[in-house]
């Protein structure tokens, strides 16, 4: 049975933060969502100390084999989340990981303490990399900053701390090493790549925010390379993500050293992508176990 920082998982596929609203999906799809929940653990959308409305539209833009988003972390804020959302997320049949982001170590610490205090929460993901909120960038670009943040947070909880790295750096491995030194339990990568597009109808940037984050199959090669380089630099478990759309894609991440994978954008195309990827992965791996090298010399 796969596990992540001691959390047992039915299979190695979880969701990428911000790409699945289990509460909304429950309302749309009903109990079937719970009976056949697509992910082995649920990661919440990133929450911030205060409520946020998110960015002005337009927020999404399709690109070749991918998409840009500038959602801007709309959320109810720490207290709203704890009061309204957490109890409903606790009803999901899988462990809950809460993603948080803040613009100061103190705020981060407060969020970690308040969230970790809740029994329903299995682990915390620290979003130090969201490309849509300027202040979020700084920590994740710098190994020392990241280490210092972890040193602040580590004493506040015994629950696993997963650091979500930003891919928009020259060396993600150095930042991962900083996270490890600071006491992180795992890293997750990649967040979205900074990107933009021009609306041909206006000649101006297509997104309301001017730029956004790129996700989907287009970024998979970049994600795989970052996983490979982070694997070489740390012993931490890796949650690998970025463009996973099939079991074969997931297998690439596992081959390069990820312990668990996350599905993001593909869920938009297929609300049960998580289960599908897990099933495809299972049969890929089973196939590998039984297959003999095929001789093709005729």
């Amino acid at each position: 049975m796969p596990e992540l920082c001691g959390i047992e998982l039915e299979h190695p596929v979880i969701n990428a933060s911000g790409t699945y609203d289990a509460i909304a999906a429950r309302a749309v799809f009903g109990d079937a969502l719970l009976e056949d929940f697509p992910f082995a653990a649920f990661v919440s959308k990133t929450i911030t100390p205060e409520p946020r409305a998110g960015n002005a539209p337009r927020r999404i833009w399709e690109t070749p084999a991918g998409m840009l988003n500038s959602i801007g972390l709309p959320n109810k804020g720490l207290e709203g989340f704890l009061a309204e959302d957490l109890p409903r997320l606790a009803a999901l049949p899988v462990p809950l990981i809460v993603s948080i982001m803040a613009t100061s170590r103190e705020d981060f610490a407060r969020c970690v303490e308040r969230v970790a205090a809740r029994r329903e929460v299995a682990a915390i993901e620290l979003n130090v990399s969201c490309p849509n909120v300027h202040s979020g960038l700084i920590v994740g670009e710098d190994p020392a900053e990241t280490e210092a943040l972890l040193e602040t947070l580590r004493p506040r909880t015994e629950k696993p701390l997963i650091v979500k790295l930003t891919p928009n750096v020259a060396g993600p491995a150095a930042v991962a090493a900083g996270a490890e030194r600071g006491g992180a339990d795992a890293v997750s990568l990649i967040n979205t790549l900074k990107g933009t597009a021009v609306d041909p109808a206006t000649g101006a940037p297509a997104l309301g925010n001017g730029y956004g984050g790129l996700s989907g199959p287009a970024v998979r090669p970049v994600a795989l390379e970052q996983v490979r380089s982070v694997r070489a630099a740390t012993g931490l478990p890796i949650v690998g993500m970025g463009g996973i759309a099939s079991g074969a894609d997931a297998a690439e991440f596992l081959a390069l050293g990820a312990s668990v994978v996350a599905v993001g954008t593909e869920s938009f195309r297929d609300p049960r992508a998580g289960s599908r990827v897990a099933a495809e992965l299972e049969s890929t791996l089973r196939l590998e176990r039984v297959s003999e090298p095929v001789l093709d010399l005729d």
Partner: protein, 283 residues
């Protein structure tokens, strides 16, 4: 009624022309009957994403008509305007091809009395491909005996897509339907709001509710006119949707008091007073 969980593969039963648009019919063996205003996320099984990597995401399309499927299930008719790679691919589908669908999604139009206490009748106002959800709404109003009038706007003779969805089985336009065309080749020469204005100015306007779907500028005109005349309205909006089920937060529409609605789960049908101004930015 919930949508079945996940996407499912449906077969194209037919694909016919409708005044420049296409009506693509799918056979759905799993889903419930959709309500007027609801939509589906559609993606062709084959060839999606070809040549340049788009369409990559599924496309939100309103259901325009339903019927019992020939071999069980329900036939879903979609009215499609080929404006880009996704709709082009969908418009080019042949009978027997596969389409991934998720839905029915979103809310639906409410009965006049639910929108405005005491309102008994309805005025349906549609333009362009936005006539699609109104076709289904009119059918339901007809079945339920809700008095209604239909006002449709078209650019010119070559752009009358979807008009046949408002025809009876005889093929003739139903009597409660009135047209405005910009070139005046049929109906009133002008815009559909020119047909709406006298109705809103009429004595009995407040006993009715306006239901509108169409291009943003038309919706904004309808919204503003209704607000001015104190007549309740429901607008079926569009916004860019990646998922259709509340997952991506991409479909944000500004709320009058600040903040945003997610059009896919809070809409696509919004009351006039839930919208500040219908803008191209999110439509």
């Amino acid at each position: 009624m919930n949508a079945p969980f996940g996407r499912r593969l449906c077969e194209v039963a037919a694909n016919r022309d409708s005044g420049g648009y296409r009506v693509v019919s799918l056979l759905d063996h799993e889903g419930p009957e959709p309500e007027p205003g609801q939509f589906y996320m559609l993606a062709a099984e084959a060839g999606w994403g070809a040549d340049g990597g788009r369409a990559f995401l599924p496309r939100a399309i309103s259901v325009a008509a339903t019927a019992p499927g020939a071999r069980g299930g329900v036939r879903l008719d979609f009215l499609l305007d080929a404006v880009g790679p996704g709709t082009e691919r969908l418009c080019g589908l042949g009978a027997g091809e596969g389409v991934w669908i998720t839905g029915p999604l979103g809310n639906s139009f409410a009965a006049p009395a639910e929108v405005s206490p005491g309102a008994a009748g309805a005025v349906l106002v549609g333009g362009g491909v936005g006539v699609a959800p109104l076709a289904l709404l009119r059918r339901r109003f007809g079945e339920r005996g809700v008095p209604h009038r239909v006002l449709l706007g078209f650019r010119d003779r070559r752009h009358t897509g979807g008009l046949d969805l408002f025809c009876g089985s005889s093929g003739a336009l139903c009597p409660e339907v009135r047209l405005a065309t910009e070139d005046g080749h049929t109906g009133l020469q002008g815009r559909v709001t020119d047909l709406l204005l006298p109705i809103l100015a009429g004595d009995d306007a407040r006993s009715g509710v306006v239901y509108a779907c169409g291009p943003p500028a038309m919706l904004e005109a309808v919204r503003a006119l209704c607000a001015e005349h104190g007549v309740a309205c429901e607008l079926a909006l569009e916004s860019p949707m990646a998922c259709g089920f509340g997952a991506c937060f991409g479909c944000a529409v500004p709320k009058p008091g600040g903040g945003f609605l997610r059009l896919c789960v809070d809409g696509p049908v919004l009351r006039g007073d839930q919208v500040e101004e219908v803008s191209h930015a999110y439509a």
